[in-house]
C-alpha cells in the first residue's frame, strides 16, 4: 500500500495515521483491562478512560500537519473537501439522531461512534470528490 504512494509527505501521513490507529487499539485494550481488573475511581478513572482518545486527537493533529506540509495544492484541496464532507455528514447524522432520540426514543448513539463515522463520511466524500476530477 505504501509503495503506491509517491509523495513523501503523503507516505509520512499514512504511516503516522497507522501508528495512531494501532495506539488507539492498544490504549482501548489497556483501558478495558484496567477497568476490568482494578475498577479505578475518580480522577484515575477519567485518566484511564481518556487514553484511547489521545491517539485520536493525535490523528486529527497529524491531519492538520499533513495539510500544512503537503506542497501539492490539488491533493490538499481533495483532502480539505473530503474533510468538509466528513464534518458535514457527521454533524447532520448526529444532530438528526439526537432529535430522533429526544422525540422518537431512538436507541442511544454512543459518542465513541462519532470519530469512525466522521472518517466513514470523509472517505465517501473523497470518492465523490475524486470522481469529479476524473
Amino acid at each position: 500500500m505504501l509503495c503506491s504512494i509517491k509523495s513523501p509527505t503523503e507516505r509520512r501521513y499514512v504511516i503516522r495515521m497507522w501508528i495512531m490507529a494501532a495506539l488507539c487499539v492498544l490504549f482501548s485494550l489497556v483501558a478495558a483491562v484496567v477497568f476490568r481488573l482494578s475498577h479505578p475511581h475518580g480522577i484515575l478513572a477519567y485518566l484511564v478512560g481518556v487514553l484511547p482518545a489521545l491517539p485520536i486527537t493525535g490523528a486529527l493533529i497529524y491531519t492538520g500537519v499533513y495539510l500544512a506540509e503537503e506542497k501539492d495544492e490539488f491533493q490538499r484541496n481533495l483532502l480539505v473537501q473530503s474533510l468538509l464532507g466528513g464534518t458535514g455528514g457527521i454533524l447532520a447524522v448526529t444532530t438528526a439522531w439526537g432529535y430522533m432520540e429526544d422525540f422518537a426514543h431512538a436507541p442511544h448513539l454512543d459518542l465513541v461512534w462519532v470519530y469512525p463515522l466522521f472518517w466513514l463520511f470523509a472517505g465517501i466524500s473523497y470518492g465523490f470528490v475524486r470522481a469529479r476530477y476524473r
Binding site: 509517491k6 501539492d72 490539488f74 476530477y133
Partner: protein, 64 residues
C-alpha cells in the same frame, strides 16, 4: 479556465507524469489543471510560466 498546457506539453514531448515531476506535484494535479477542472494558485501558475518560458496569460485564459 481554459489553458494551453496540453499543447505546450506536447511541443516538448512531455507526458503528464514528466510535467508533474518538474512541477513537484502529482500527475492527477496536472491532469486536473489541464482539463480545466482545477485552477492552480498564482505561485503554481508562475511556476508553469517559468517552466514553459512564457507568461501566465500565454498559458491561461479566462474565456469560456
Amino acid at each position: 479556465m481554459k489553458n494551453r498546457l496540453r499543447v505546450l506539453r506536447a511541443e516538448r514531448d512531455w507526458s503528464q507524469a514528466d510535467l508533474a515531476e518538474r512541477l513537484e506535484v502529482s500527475r492527477q494535479s496536472v491532469n486536473a489543471i489541464e482539463t480545466g477542472k482545477f485552477d492552480p494558485s498564482l505561485p503554481l501558475a508562475f511556476k508553469l510560466a517559468r517552466l514553459f518560458e512564457t507568461t501566465i496569460e500565454a498559458i491561461f485564459s479566462d474565456e469560456n
